[in-house]
Symmetry: C2
Subunit: 416 residues, 2 copies
Amino acid sequence: MSSSIPTLDAQALLAQVRALGEVGSGAPGDGRTRIALTDADRAGRDLLVQWMRELGLDVRVDRIGNIFGVLHAATHEGDRQPLMIGSHIDTVRNAGALDGCYGVLSGLAVARAWRAAGLAPSRAIVVAAFTNEEGVRFQPDMMGSLVYAGGMALQAALDVVGIDGVRLGDELARIAYAGELEPGAIAPLEYLELHIEQGPILEAEGQSIGVVENLQGISWQKITVHGTANHAGTTPLRLRHDAGYAAAAVVAFLREHVAAPSGGTTLATVGSLRFEPDVINVIARKATFTVDLRDPDEQRLQAAERRLGDFLVELAQREGVEIETERLARYEPVVFDAGLAAEIEAAAVRLGYASRRMTSGAGHDAQMMARIAPAAMIFVPSRAGISHNPREHTDDAQLVQGAQVLLEVVRRRLAN
Amino acid sequence: MSSSIPTLDAQALLAQVRALGEVGSGAPGDGRTRIALTDADRAGRDLLVQWMRELGLDVRVDRIGNIFGVLHAATHEGDRQPLMIGSHIDTVRNAGALDGCYGVLSGLAVARAWRAAGLAPSRAIVVAAFTNEEGVRFQPDMMGSLVYAGGMALQAALDVVGIDGVRLGDELARIAYAGELEPGAIAPLEYLELHIEQGPILEAEGQSIGVVENLQGISWQKITVHGTANHAGTTPLRLRHDAGYAAAAVVAFLREHVAAPSGGTTLATVGSLRFEPDVINVIARKATFTVDLRDPDEQRLQAAERRLGDFLVELAQREGVEIETERLARYEPVVFDAGLAAEIEAAAVRLGYASRRMTSGAGHDAQMMARIAPAAMIFVPSRAGISHNPREHTDDAQLVQGAQVLLEVVRRRLAN
Ligand SMILES: NC(=O)NCCC(=O)O
Ligand SMILES: NC(=O)NCCC(=O)O
């Protein structure tokens, strides 16, 4: 081993991104599905832990299943001032290979750079993979980092019941990732996260690097409409209490009267919607759907929530249905650490990569970690802005640029 | 056995309605689910066949699974002029006990009346239970009677694939109800069907008997919207191709711009709607839903179909989604036999039951049988107009009145 400057092994990084992307992959075109705490998630975790061990990292798992690979510092003092690089490896259904994984594996690439240089870092480098970032099965999203940052009690998180009726704590034990470390035990001095943008901005502007200054607020609700099942052919309009129509009216309202008039700052999405009994000639007795509202401005996000709430009251009255709402997640907008953002921007300039400051549309673990440490994020472009889709793509060269920026920032921070 | 006038055994009828209602029943309040050609349907069929045999009826099953219980006439000549009384015993999901079953079991009650009187009827009485009237699993609805009446080729019906991906012919063989009789082989001289109204009119007007003069047209389609899965937090409005929103917009359009402005003659229902991947933070890639349009007037039904079609074209263009439509069923309005309707009305008058002429909102096997024989229907009230719901209810006394009218009409027809 030659003692030199830590440098990126781009091929090793890209190979790991591809290999992890195979875990949980289905039919061609279907992408991969590694929903939190499923067998596929376990397989991904096992591979990650194996890679951490191969790099000689000290692997720790906490009680909510977050995985940490610690590259110890040269000194005891340095070990007490860890720099954490994290993201997640769970996915949505039929996902791309990059969302989350790219950030975790770039963290490994940073650790590998020190290893390959034959150096112990001046401060510990901790590579983190947080549990259940996507929030597809268990809500809220970003759950592992939220618990880690003290924003949700561990027991409450373990007791969350998923959309499949299974308790999170039971699944965690089943896949053997209920660790012993107390969440929060490794307190990072700073937190960095590299991620694909998942949106169209960088590509549209021909930029290589996004310096993420802030992250929009997220409001998730589950809404259940209780109507009356009745015959599609015999029930006159005035006697209908159609839970399906009421749900559809909400979906249309959100798009047409909440998102569109906001000029685009408020986003509203109904990604999940189910009817019961879901039969062609039966007026729906029940409709259950999710609402995802986002806005970088807390006041506007609250205004959107109020408009939805008012509409639900009016609709329930008008249609003679009962409407229940349940809060699944609520995060205020977050402003990242200005010093770290400046550091990222400076690194991009030094490397000669075009960059721009931006807001994150997606939620990320950095958003939670910002509660307990200075945090910032680096974005790379997403082709056509497509994510949460098997067609999610970033060119290899762009992935490497992002990892170079991360490495450069870590080098700087560890040189301080 | 005393030789006397055939009279109704009301208790036997009500007991059979209750007993058949137990087959396929689930948790309390969930009603029963005997969807066509499932194991529960088989259990219902087995019970019906057992009851037919107990009455000494000659049981025949045709190639589409329709079941016939023949009470032979006193003469060979009378056997060639059968009067058929039919309906169905399949149900929707979480159904009431009466829809269909009441009609079939009233047919048995008529046969029982002749048996108990120790008489052979002057013409054969054929009690029919048609396959897959509800059309929940396999479309179109009224399939058994449609095939019987020559409106759909047997092979095409056997090849229909259900919403669960299973071929109808395979299920029919599996439950051992693929009979040998050619559909249509027993050609009825006339056809009668007794059914609950499934709507609110008789109850609202305090009438006991509905003399059904006609039956509205039914248009069923399956619509599939193909959009693009993308991230709920990062995808700006202008880049969304949200299959879920597009589907919801159609549901709202049908109610607000097709059904409501028609003044209530056109009914539009979306009873089934599914999103893919159905995930909270993923814009739906695909939405699949059914459309049920009805109107007693063919021109207005066609106008409703055209307005829907025009809206789909405009919507696909506006949202950048692809929309596929598939026809599941299309029946023009039917006018029943005026002579039989008059006979029903006269019977109600003789029995002293208040009656009114009316249109059927629901589809019925009589609608298909009207293609090959003079046909008519008798309705009894449905409490609060509720049907396709476990709360479907008709008072016992009203059920008995309907069966009395049926028996009276049959006596008259057989006396001719
Ligand atoms: N990055 C990412 O896709 N996070 C999932 C949480 C969200 O919906 O924003
Ligand atoms: N009677 C009845 O519920 N028939 C089912 C077909 C329809 O949807 O009208």
